[in-house]
Symmetry: C2
């Protein structure tokens, strides 16, 4: 008789590729060694931003007896976000459109809980972040995967339209996109909205869009960004501060409702959000992080340094026979392996103490992902390794 | 066509009594007024512990580049807890028995996710904390409520045994108990374990016990505490730092597996916990709170002050014609209304600016709960109000 719930077993099985990579791979054995070049997860490889520590220092000083009391989505940060995110995205948000969450994971789990019932289907496109699928399985829902359209990994609208069934309730769009670094343009999003509108009418229920945009402020070359929330009214936006601040351990994010959503529906969803967050495990952002929000607004990791690393590696990877795709946003660089066995290629880099994220954990085994959160020293260490490892055939 | 998932609507409906009390009651209208005596939620009515602020101050200073990186259940706090909680409960914990969570809510949600599938039944006894039911409903499971046995609200083992069906997968025990302040003794827990053992054998699947013990360190009169984890091997323990520190906004807790659990089963559950926490929305405790754990170990709210308030109010309530139950633990005091309409009694106290938690939100409409987190000044303000409001009949 199994001890675990079926849904946890399903989530665990789905997460195994990246969990095994994290905990039992050659990378896992060596990830804390000082000499390695770590391009795997989006974790910091340098000391935190001093401004972040200063913001926390101010936020931990209690100014009233409620400072560390139970927090839901507090009025002040909600009003602040309505104004600032509204300006950023060109949308007329109300404070109630924002649910403060313990990171984007919590915002995504909240979105799933708000609109999905057991057996409902959610569509997303691969290559993809490795957690959508286990999160959907743990919520008793059905992940439906389509492919992005190569070579530049555009949205495949025909594939999305074909995947919609009467049980479809949600489509997930991640822009800027992890792992490819693509940013979807307005025309592409409008075409998607059109697909979802027509499909919603056909199946007789509204298909929601989850716009997962934690990398929204991390864009290269002054690329523009259009939130799907500005294009499709039934959009929920998940956001994390963990990327732009590179502090994923501090868990601050939000779920926002598009202010274009019809007011009745918007009110119903906003009205159930507090209960949904409570019932998911009180996944509100902590008191300290909510207090810190205004001080965090203008902080960011050093984007010019990320651009420098991107450009350096783009040149080297192309020279070495990999097939890199120029990222428009995120802090990732996605590249194809040279011909041959991807595992051999990955191990060859590991032999040089260079660790990248194998695309196999993101539904793209013939690619790999480089996190530009690596330090400049790691990049320079990796350059000769890429040049040496990429050149030779694998077998 | 409804916008919300059925499970969120069910959770929201179940939470309405306390949400309405929190957001649209006479209490909601006035809860931030300085003159009121607030005995409702377990929130601080005095400034935070200076030691807590000092612990955060040390924990936000980064000592390495991973300081704010993604955290799961980190090795150092796990080892610390295995040693210290092991000593406290007399149990031989291993570090892997602890899952660090963003508060006890998250630990409870994790326990539900680990062992319950959609349609599974979980039993708990009323009066009860008002969140078990919406949390179970949001998880697509079936809350099965029995009553505690008056007048002292003992566990009703016959009622629990009678409520067990082939779908029963979990029994929740909350000790020290919110709202009654009872602590269940070893003999009572052993009798419960016997019921669960026999029922598990009968239905052919193991019934787990969730011991929700966030008030474990808050005990009056040097009362002893026995964790159900020391009595029934298939016990999961949820714990929060938010009670003993009175900082519920900072979200620190854990789920612990009883080390008495057979090693194979214990390993299976521990092995799936990381994926389950990820899939629930990365509900690990934040980096700062995990760093702070050793510094928080010996901190506590001022228990003698709570004892003083308890004793003062016990005398007054009895004198005024209420029927108070001497709490053995927690920071609550549970009392019966005098004869008559509870709502009239509640409003009569509110007319005196005294706000208590109506028992109707906890499945006990003929009782009310007082939170001893109120300040001494609030207690003294309330004394004449209780004496004036309690005496007269209601209609």
């Amino acid at each position: 008789m199994p001890m675990l719930s079926e849904r946890t077993r399903a989530a665990d099985a789905s997460a195994q590729p990246f969990l095994r990579f994290y905990s039992t791979s050659r990378y896992a054995d060596r990830r804390f060694e000082p000499g390695i070049a770590d391009f795997t997860f989006g974790n910091p490889q340098e000391m935190p931003l001093p401004g972040f520590v200063a913001a926390l220092g101010a936020a931990i000083e209690p100014r009233d007896m409620n400072w560390f009391a139970y927090k839901t989505s507090e009025d002040e940060p909600r009003a602040f976000l309505a104004e600032h995110v509204g300006r950023e995205l060109g949308l007329d948000f109300a404070p109630d459109d924002f649910a403060l969450t313990a990171g984007a994971f919590a915002a995504i789990a909240l979105a799933f809980r708000l609109v999905l019932d057991a057996g409902d289907e959610a569509i997303f496109a691969e290559p993809a972040w490795f957690c959508y699928e286990p999160m959907l399985l743990a919520a008793d829902t059905v992940p439906v995967k389509v492919r992005l359209r190569g070579p530049r990994f555009d949205l495949d609208l025909a594939a999305i339209a074909a995947a919609i069934t009467p049980r479809t309730r949600l489509v997930i769009v991640n822009t800027p996109h992890n792992p490819t670094g693509r940013i979807y343009g307005r025309a592409e999003l409008e075409a998607l909205a059109d697909v979802l509108d027509r499909a919603s009418a056909r199946i007789g229920r509204r298909i929601f869009l989850l716009s997962d945009e934690p990398y929204r402020r991390l864009r290269f070359d002054e690329n523009a960004f259009v939130s799907p929330a500005a294009v499709y009214p039934w959009t929920l936006v998940s956001y994390s501060y963990g990327k732009v601040l590179l502090t994923p351990g501090q868990r601050l994010g939000y779920l926002a409702l598009s202010p274009l959503m019809p007011s009745g529906e918007r009110r119903v969803i906003a009205g159930a959000t507090l209960a949904a967050q409570m019932a998911l495990g009180w996944n509100f952002a902590s008191a300290v992080m909510q207090h810190a929000i205004p001080a965090l607004e203008d902080l960011s990791i050093d984007l010019p340094a990320f651009t420098r690393r991107r450009d350096r590696l783009m040149g080297v990877l192309a020279e070495a026979g990999y097939a890199p795709l120029l990222p428009e946003g995120t802090f990732y660089l996605f590249a194809g392996w040279p011909p041959g066995d991807p595992e051999v290629h990955w191990n060859r880099l590991a032999d040089h103490d260079v660790f990248v994220m194998p695309g196999s954990v993101m539904g793209a085994p013939d690619h790999f992902r480089i996190s530009l959160t690596a330090s400049d020293a790691m990049v320079e260490k990796a350059v000769p390794a890429f040049l040496a490892a990429g050149a030779a055939p694998t077998g």
